[in-house]
Symmetry: C2
Amino acid sequence: MNMSGRCAACKYLRRRCPSDCILSPYFPSNDPQRFTSVHRIYGASNVAKMLQELLPHLRVEAAETLCYEAQCRIQDPIYGCVGVISQLHQQIQDTECQLAKTRAEIALMMNSDGQEPPQAQVDQQI
Amino acid sequence: MNMSGRCAACKYLRRRCPSDCILSPYFPSNDPQRFTSVHRIYGASNVAKMLQELLPHLRVEAAETLCYEAQCRIQDPIYGCVGVISQLHQQIQDTECQLAKTRAEIALMMNSDGQEPPQAQVDQQI
């Protein structure tokens, strides 16, 4: 491959991009930021090693998630994407709390009516 | 510091552990696996660099989340902890779906009764 057709990684590292470059399919030259993010967090050789250890058809997803985690770590150097996980746990807790509250409303209505919940009807409609 | 008091990182890298070792407080010698995980994914020098860029009191949390992400990536080399994020998104969707269903049950009961939901009473009780 000639020097002008190098991938973002080889361009950044100022090296020739071989035709079998492990990084080339996942780090195109038109998105240099994508490579600099993973390089900053993992280092190019660790990224190459992690991709190399996977079967070729699994590498796209791995490169994608490595980029996501690297970008999270750059944005939040303390918590990285573990910060996202914490927020989602909080959101689950909030939604479960709303659900418990709504179920308590139904229970209250049952008590005041002596009525069964219209479960079967709802299941058909939703 | 003498050679026997080295942290897990310096022990692994077979080097002297200086008294101001950046990794030493977060990678004690009694938990060598903790260091080997982050070393495998990020490399010791990237971990040291990321910790160095933070104020000292923020480094404990950063080391903790880096260890967590590294362990996730070792367990799931394709998705890493992004796999956890996907599962949590699914859990939120499931809970929101249950909530919508439960609210629909209330709406049905309202329709059959011509009654207002006992919101105020529930809020007081929960």
